[in-house]
Symmetry: C2
Subunit: 321 residues, 2 copies
């Protein structure tokens, strides 16, 4: 087996992007379908996706389990797994966890950057950890089969989630902070705990998560992967590129601000650099997986390790949930 | 001027209750209209109230400012001021603060018992204080004229709210924990800080907040008022009875559980005492204000102080917001 999986994209989806993902050989993509949308608004996104699946049935279909990754591989298509970057679609209702799963959700972040009803986001001043409601929702996600994704969550909340969850959790798109100390990146201690509990890290190619941002070199990225493999088992390392192809800047503004402030919050950006950052030349879209393959080979990973990092590890993770 | 105000009731409203409130001489009642309802559900409650105002226009009307307390007094009616015991109606949208104010809201708790998007409730294990969104909402509530009510919030969150808010805040229904150490009651340190910032405390007559619960004596309650007046200015002490007249037990179950758990949470109650507790004999409904008046006189308060506690202090607080 040899699967390629990008376990986080939030593109301005189009046939062109689905073609690029196929050209890159992606068997599966975990696609963010909502951030701050409530349950009804999330239904609208699902309707949009139903149309996209219909219009592009030669390229994509809705993925529901690891078997769909195998199917995609056989049929030269990309299985799209739905995920949420905030828990807004379940509102304050534990009964909606089962409902969003029925409608396709397979990954849900307990928080985006701010405090949610479940846990604390990495942009809050104080992190109180997983809340009363959060505990109940984690149990329910375990029962139903939705992966707990803590990519945007604060440290104590993430450690709590690892402890409470009876199944391994995921950080679908972030990098180690030993390499680049961004708020969104993760401490070595956290990564070790994640790893010890069978959790998986999707390494991000989003410039704000990269050393030297857009100017990050492929070599530097691959060195980081090698160092990460010193603190985590390689089998728990994958890719979650966080590609936001063709998104207008108003989308990143909405991601950061939702409807929670009348001011402007710049998140990982700044006033003079508020839009989507430019991707590094060697990873402008998913075809950059080819470059990653070469870079990882050069740094000394074996073929089987590289196949793991570029897809098989995520495939095996999907199998366990 | 001599006004009587009960600054928290959540009754199963009926003409009978409005008559009792009039018999008690209440010029104003802060009525909880929602707990966990979202914006649309809160609109349904407002429609219910519109019908009640129409059907009982000889007894009640919607209060919008302190002038309506004066009007109610003149016309022998009770002005009903709308309040929320959770921030659910504003959802995750700061724009809804202005909307709920337009529709009548004058008090909003930043939390019920659990973590909200704004702050931490008193039943959470860890209290992270006011959140990013919470800061923005407090500013907006200040601007618009909705009182920040921290009755069910945890201590650090309440201290944060006092600090962030440019206007005095309220704890509409709770007692000092020096008298009865319940999770919902407040520490002396907190009450001193509230007082120092011009905030006001509505003393509660809800049995779970009373020493010896249902068996609490009028004398004990009035002694507590006297001791509270040693740590707070009398002008910052009022009544928020928390009367839940004629509510079926399923309502308290819903207040505690909303839709956040599949288990049963008993809140201030317990498995064997899960329903609404019985009121003390001397405060079975608002007509108990008469007993309070006598009890406070007996303990040594002057007439002007008693008039303050039973209504004028709230009236003056309404004037400042």
């Amino acid at each position: 087996m040899k699967f390629k999986i990008d376990n986080l994209q939030y593109c301005n989806w189009s046939r062109k992007i689905f073609e690029i993902n196929r050209e890159a050989g992606l068997d599966a993509v975990h696609a963010t379908i909502v951030y701050h949308e409530d349950f009804d608004e999330h239904l609208n996104e699902i309707k949009r996706w139903e149309k996209m699946f219909k219009d592009n049935s030669d390229l994509i279909f809705l993925g529901k389990s690891f078997k769909d990754i195998e199917k995609a591989n056989k049929e030269n298509k990309t299985a799209i797994f739905f995920g949420f970057q905030n828990c807004s679609p379940i509102e304050d209702n534990i009964g909606l966890v089962e409902k969003v799963h029925e409608l396709g959700c397979r990954f849900m972040q307990l928080t985006y950057n701010n405090q949610s009803l479940l846990a604390t986001g990495c942009y809050e001043k104080v992190d109180s950890g997983v809340t009363n409601f959060g505990r109940e929702v984690i149990k329910e996600m375990n029962r139903i089969g939705i992966v707990i994704d803590m990519s945007h969550s604060a440290e104590k909340s993430t450690l709590d989630a690892i402890e409470i969850s009876e199944k391994p959790i995921a950080i679908t798109h972030a990098n180690p902070s030993f390499w680049h100390a961004a708020k969104r990146n993760k401490s070595s201690e956290l990564l070790k705990t994640l790893n010890a509990n069978g959790g998986i890290l999707g390494l991000s190619l989003y410039p704000h998560h990269l050393k030297n941002n857009t100017d990050c070199t492929l070599e530097s990225f691959c060195e980081m992967v090698a160092k990460t493999a010193e603190i985590m088992d390689i089998k728990n390392i994958g890719i979650g590129s966080d590609l936001c192809l063709n998104q207008p800047d108003k989308v990143v503004e909405w991601m950061r601000n939702g409807t929670w402030t009348k001011n402007k919050n710049f998140g990982e950006g700044s006033k003079n650099n508020s839009g989507f950052p430019r991707q590094p030349k060697w990873f402008e879209d998913a075809r950059g997986f080819k470059n990653l393959e070469e870079g990882l080979k050069k740094i000394g990973f074996s073929n089987i390790e590289i196949e793991g990092i570029l897809g098989n590890n995520w495939y095996n993770f999907y199998k366990t949930i």
